[in-house]
């Protein structure tokens, strides 16, 4: 058990899967931007996963439209444990200006559990990287319950 935790904590590369639940693409392009040479997410050992089954972290964007809610749940279930959900953007956090719109659920945490929120409309690539790195550090320091309990 301890070995598993250590293995995870010292994992050199973190696989991130990007999900858009009906956002305006603003957050999407800042996430993609984080991969480009100017910000270069890869130097932190963070890589884009090709599917949820390979992911450690779900980066979820968008206020969650009704059509996406089921899909989001399914993606969450397909992601193996231990997994983390980062809600990127104000829409993913609370629905932002779209809260109350008839086709919007209004926030990722209304559908799946969220571990970290990056607020911003959209948040800058630096903020997104910051959040993921902070999450990784917390895991490394043993400050995240679900890893310690695993």
């Amino acid at each position: 058990m301890l070995k598993k935790v250590k293995r995870w904590a010292f994992k050199r590369s973190l696989w991130v899967f990007h999900v858009n639940t009906g956002g305006c693409n603003g957050c999407d392009i800042e996430i993609v931007d984080a991969l480009t040479p100017k910000y270069d997410l890869e130097r932190f050992g963070i890589k884009l996963a090709p599917s949820p089954r390979h992911a450690d972290v779900l980066l979820v964007v968008g206020p969650v439209t009704r059509k996406h809610a089921e899909l989001l749940k399914r993606i969450y279930e397909q992601t193996p444990d231990p997994k983390f959900v980062v809600a990127v953007g104000t829409c993913a956090t609370s629905g932002s200006t779209f809260e109350g719109a008839y086709n919007v659920i209004g926030g990722v945490d209304k559908v799946i559990p969220v571990d970290a929120y990056v607020v911003g409309c959209p948040p800058r690539p630096e903020a997104i990287i910051d959040a993921i790195v902070a999450l990784v550090n917390k895991i490394g320091k043993g400050e995240v319950e679900k890893i310690e309990k695993a």
Binding site: R66, K67, Y102, N103
Partner: protein, 154 residues
């Protein structure tokens, strides 16, 4: 300023003349942004649009629906634009249909893109386009309950 006014007035009268050809007496108002507004009866809409397209209004921008419960009607606005017709105004062709039976003939045989726009108006307002070969929801999930049309006013 006076010259432009006459030009838009003469264009407005051309449009009025064309509508007369399909048996419609319509008043055309051209606003200062070169958009013409007019209202015709729903049974004449298809013929009018067919003729307008032949005359050069070959671009259907979109179809807007407005719910007017106080008047007991729904208003449909066909937004048309002229192609290569120097200075002619964009045309917003309006018509009113009864709110308790909102139906009108499709124009998908004149403007293929109307397939998409009519579905949108059906989805959000519940207007039935007679003759549309695939009238179904396009934006809301397919399992949305029948009769739920969010853009209707309470």
């Amino acid at each position: 300023m006076g010259g432009e006014q006459t030009q838009s007035q003469s264009q407005a009268s051309s449009i009025a003349e064309w509508l007369k050809e399909v048996g419609v007496e319509a008043e055309i108002r051209v606003d200062k942004y070169n958009v013409a507004w007019t209202e015709i009866p729903p049974e004449k809409v298809k013929e009018a649009i067919k003729l307008l397209k032949e005359k050069g209004y070959r671009h259907l921008i979109t179809i807007s629906g407005v719910d007017l419960p106080d008047e007991g009607v729904m208003e449909l606005i066909y937004h048309l634009a002229p192609v290569k017709m120097d200075g002619y105004p964009r045309l917003s062709l309006k018509t009113k249909i009864p709110r308790d039976k909102p139906e009108i003939d499709t124009i998908t045989d004149i403007f293929t893109i109307a397939i998409v726009y009519e579905r949108e108006v059906y989805d959000l307002l519940g207007v039935k386009f007679i003759g549309h070969k695939g009238l179904s929801r396009i934006l809301l999930p397919k399992d949305t309950p029948e009769g739920y049309h969010p853009l209707r006013k309470k």
